[in-house]
């Protein structure tokens, strides 16, 4: 069975046809304002490119990774107004929902704010009983205001989700068609950051529904009859219908897909990955073939959030980076996707990182004669400077001093030096420029749990968490027989009694074969 992987980036939409671990066809097309239109064109061209290949007749799934939802937040467009329902009074009254948000984003998304009594303690005890009557009254107010997206957040809900579920039932009784996001399904311990992620999610669900529907139409228009999946920021996929409920999980899928693709194409499961694009260089760490997750808060469009995101470091260095002051200043400006018209080697007027690499003989691009007169010391110095920038960001991503392999991907990967301190080997791979689309094509389904357990033996806590994560993976479309544990960690917690520990478990499985 074959798969099609698509990565919709800000500049290019990449597509690959993959079967039996081989890339049968790959292409890049410009991303269009209507992203589904770019997807449709890429699909049509991919089918044309692979015309006659039997793999086209046995496409099992199409996986799309898209930056569309992140961009909507960053650009404050296509967002729905959200009613925030927070359960936790008498605690937390001083920091209401939407606090600390950039004013323009709050103006676009803040519908109304509702706070009621309820919530739990870290050890599962009730903080105060849920104010069911208050929830109903607030739901009626929301219904009257015409807002249809509701984000519900309760104190310590990642530990005990009862209040959020019960409140959702009440809201649904009052507003049967409401789009409801429950914070415990999105984020971790850290109420404001989890609530922020839930609010963003609620405000994106409408866009996610429209986008998924447009992708489905694009698939149909290109004559492909296969189920559609969207890739998430942990390198896994979900059925489009599930992604519609949790669009925030699609946020950082681009870099994640690159890293997963790099792992697949190189055959390395534990390595660092450096992805050099036109404007930025992203570095991440692969563990067991998946990106390591960030433990810290991540800002999206100026909002602090805390949910599963790849641990990435980005710097402003890419193939289009502008070189100024006779090589003394590297970036941060970039010609980006205008490289083919702006770079000296293509007859343009701007000295870029690509021109330096061409002059140094690193790559053959454009017209080498056009950069032939660049002074030797300028070329050598700026190349050295750029290589040092890459080496430093790679080193910052490492978790210990032991040497590790480094996989270089992306159109600008010629800027990655062959030798670096702390790197055992720089791995260069075929199809590195479409690693992200390959990453989308090979995605699997996951389930995750992040909870505090107290008063329970360690083994029992881990087992309990693993069972719950498996249930979530199956719900997201995994084949129950293929589910394996990917990550399991537990951290003892300072100051808390009762042998309290925070347990995080992630499991992963192949997508369940769908009928038809």
């Amino acid at each position: 069975m074959s798969r099609i992987g698509i990565d919709v980036g800000g500049t290019n939409t990449d597509a690959v046809l993959l079967e039996g671990g081989k890339v049968l066809a790959a292409l890049k097309r410009p991303t269009t304002v209507d992203v589904a239109d770019g997807v449709r064109r890429a699909l049509v061209d991919l089918v044309a490119t692979a015309a006659g290949h039997p793999a086209l007749g046995r496409i099992e799934a199409v996986m799309i990774g898209t930056t569309h939802f992140t961009n909507a937040v960053v650009e404050r467009r296509h967002l729905d107004r959200v009613a925030a329902l927070r359960i936790g009074l008498p605690a937390n009254a001083g920091l209401p929902p939407f606090i600390g948000w950039p004013k323009d984003l709050a103006a676009a998304m803040r519908g109304s704010v509702h706070m009621v009594g309820g919530g739990h303690e870290y050890d599962g005890r009730v903080l105060v009983p849920l104010g069911r009557g208050a929830v109903r009254r607030e739901a009626e107010r929301i219904a009257e205001s015409g807002i249809r997206s509701v984000a519900i957040t309760s104190v310590f809900s990642p530990l005990t989700d009862a209040c959020e579920r019960e409140a959702a039932d009440i809201v649904r009784e009052v507003m049967p068609t409401a789009r409801i996001t429950l914070s415990h399904e999105i984020g971790r311990i850290g109420l404001l950051e989890r609530e922020n992620a839930a609010l963003l999610n609620a405000g994106l669900q409408g866009l996610a529904q429209r986008t998924a529907a447009a992708f489905v139409r694009a698939l149909r228009d290109s004559g492909i009859a296969a189920p559609l999946y969207l890739t998430q920021n942990d390198g896994t996929i979900v059925q489009a219908a599930v992604a519609e409920r949790h669009p925030v999980y699609c946020f950082a899928s681009g870099p994640t897909n690159s890293m997963r693709g790099a792992a697949f194409l190189s055959g390395l499961a534990d390595a660092l990955v450096v992805d050099v694009g036109g404007t930025t260089t992203d570095v991440g760490s692969l563990k067991g073939g998946f990106p390591r997750q960030a433990n810290a808060m991540v800002e999206i469009g100026g909002v602090r959030t805390l949910f599963r995101m790849p641990d990435l470091i980005s710097i402003g260095l890419g193939g289009g980076t502008e070189i100024a002051d006779d090589g003394r200043r590297i970036g941060p400006g970039s010609v980006g996707f205008r490289l083919p018209e702006k770079a000296l080697c293509f007859g343009g007027d701007t000295l870029t990182a690509t021109d330096i690499a061409v002059a140094a003989g690193r790559i053959a691009l454009g017209e080498p004669g056009l950069v032939g007169r660049l002074p030797g010391p300028l070329v050598a110095d700026s190349l050295l400077h750029m290589e040092r920038m890459v080496a430093e960001v790679v080193d910052r991503m490492k978790t210990d001093a032991a040497p590790v392999p480094l996989i270089a991907v992306g159109g600008g990967s010629f800027l990655v030096p062959d030798r670096m301190e702390g790197v055992s080997q720089v791995v260069r791979i075929e199809h590195h420029a479409v690693a992200n689309a390959v990453g989308a094509a090979i995605a699997q389904v996951s389930g995750e749990v992040d909870r505090i357990f107290s008063g329970v033996e360690r083994d029992a806590a881990l087992e309990d968490a693993r069972r719950e994560a498996t249930r979530r993976a199956i719900e997201a479309g995994a084949d129950a027989n293929s589910v394996q544990t990917l990550d399991m960690e537990d951290i003892p917690i300072a100051y808390l009694p009762g042998n309290a520990r925070r347990v995080r478990v992630r499991v992963i499985g192949e997508i369940a074969r769908l009928a038809g």
Binding site: G88, P90, A91, N92, A93, G94, L95, I99, G100, E121, Y122, D123, R125, L127, V128, V155, F156, I189, G190, L191, L192, A296, D395, R396, M397, K398, T399, D400, A401, I452, P492, I493, A494, Y495, L496, P497, R502
Partner: protein, 362 residues
């Protein structure tokens, strides 16, 4: 006359207090947001110089205590900060003149500001540590031998405990820890009331202003594209001790504390050298190539070498580029009694204290 803090000073206080947290004390983020929201809604908070206190004025000493992880779900707010203060007033039968924090390092720098927001009381420009320390008996009022009671510990619900008497600071600390745990590991406190005379004699004076000045210097340096680490050193009268990258971090939780150590490898002028720091919530001792060169009560701060931002012991990780600096300690912490409470031996390091600033024990 008290003066009103302006809203920029709130931001600067958050920066300075996090540096003075010396790795612990909890992030001021949420408390800072509460204060900022109060200002956006038109409120103002008055700062009172300690000299403006009459000797027989009574000052409320306040804090939030508990597990930093729980603070992330049950955040502090102004009403919760005020509650133990009102209960103490009822217990004493007289109103407070002003409010002050027990520690200027970390999130507690904002605790009296929250009380002020809810009550209109002015905030005294002083604290009882000059930094952050993990336990109540490490404050200057304890070192000076003042009373530790009465002490109020409040829950967000209708639960409050008054400890009218205690046989010692450490006994009081043990009892209130238990109470705090039963509350869900977060509580607000109103500690033993202090007279104006006691504050002026035994507190660390004008420490809010100093924290704000520190924050201001860091921000100015960043805006001017100068080195914010150098600016912090200059503003705090400190010393740069080491520049390097994090090679290893070890953490364990014992007896309710986050203990561990941090290893750095030198960069730049320090290339070839190593530096190790031990912590118990806060950084307690630093060794260069194995030799002790800095210990508590000198303030040991680990800053991001580029941004100048302080890094908490919980967010250290391999590869970070950091600079270790020392800031001078309070004279009372360098006294014989002070060193008994907060010197290197109080944190299990069998060495004598020698200040990197040449200030020998008093």
């Amino acid at each position: 006359m008290p003066r009103f803090l302006d809203s920029e000073e709130l931001d600067l206080l958050a920066i300075g207090a996090w540096i003075l947290g010396t790795g612990g004390g909890g992030s001021p983020y949420a408390s800072h947001l509460v204060a900022r929201q109060f200002y956006e809604d038109g409120g103002r908070i008055a700062l009172l110089d300690p000299d403006e206190l009459a000797d027989d004025d009574v000052v409320a000493v306040v804090s939030t205590m508990g597990a930093p992880l729980v603070f992330q779900e049950r955040m502090t707010d102004a009403a919760f900060a005020l509650k133990p203060v009102r209960i103490m007033e009822a217990f004493l039968g007289r109103p407070f003149r002003a409010v002050m924090t027990v520690e200027i390092g970390g999130c507690n720098a904002f605790q009296p500001l929250l009380v002020a927001a809810a009550s209109g009381l002015p905030v005294v420009d002083a604290d009882a540590m000059g930094r952050a320390y993990p336990e109540a008996q490490m404050q200057t009022f304890s070192i000076a031998g003042l009373q530790m009671a009465p002490h109020v510990v409040s829950d967000i619900r209708d639960n409050d405990v008054i400890i009218p008497t205690a046989s010692g600071w450490q006994e009081m600390e043990r009892v209130r820890r238990k109470v705090c745990t039963e509350y869900g590991s977060v509580a607000t406190t109103c500690q033993a009331p202090r007279t104006g005379a006691e504050v002026k004699r035994h507190a660390v004076l004008r420490s809010l202003s100093q924290a704000i000045a520190l924050g201001r210097e860091v921000r100015r340096a960043k805006t001017a594209h100068e080195d914010p680490v150098e600016a912090t050193v200059a503003a705090g009268g400190g010393k740069r001790l080491f520049t390097g990258k994090v090679m290893d971090v070890q953490r364990r939780t014992t007896e309710g504390f986050l203990r561990g150590s941090l290893s750095l490898a030198g960069l730049g002028d320090d290339t070839g050298a190593s530096f190790d720091i031990a912590f118990q919530n806060e950084f307690t001792i630093g060794r260069r190539d194995g030799a002790v060169i800095v210990t508590t009560p000198d303030l040991i701060c680990v800053l991001d070498s580029i941004s100048g931002e302080a890094i908490g012991t919980e967010s250290l990780r391999y590869g970070q580029r950091v600079t270790v600096i020392a800031l001078p300690s309070q004279p009372i912490h360098r006294s014989a009694e002070g060193l008994r409470h907060v010197g290197p031996r109080a944190f299990g390091h069998d060495v004598d204290f020698h200040s990197v600033f040449g200030e020998e024990p008093a």
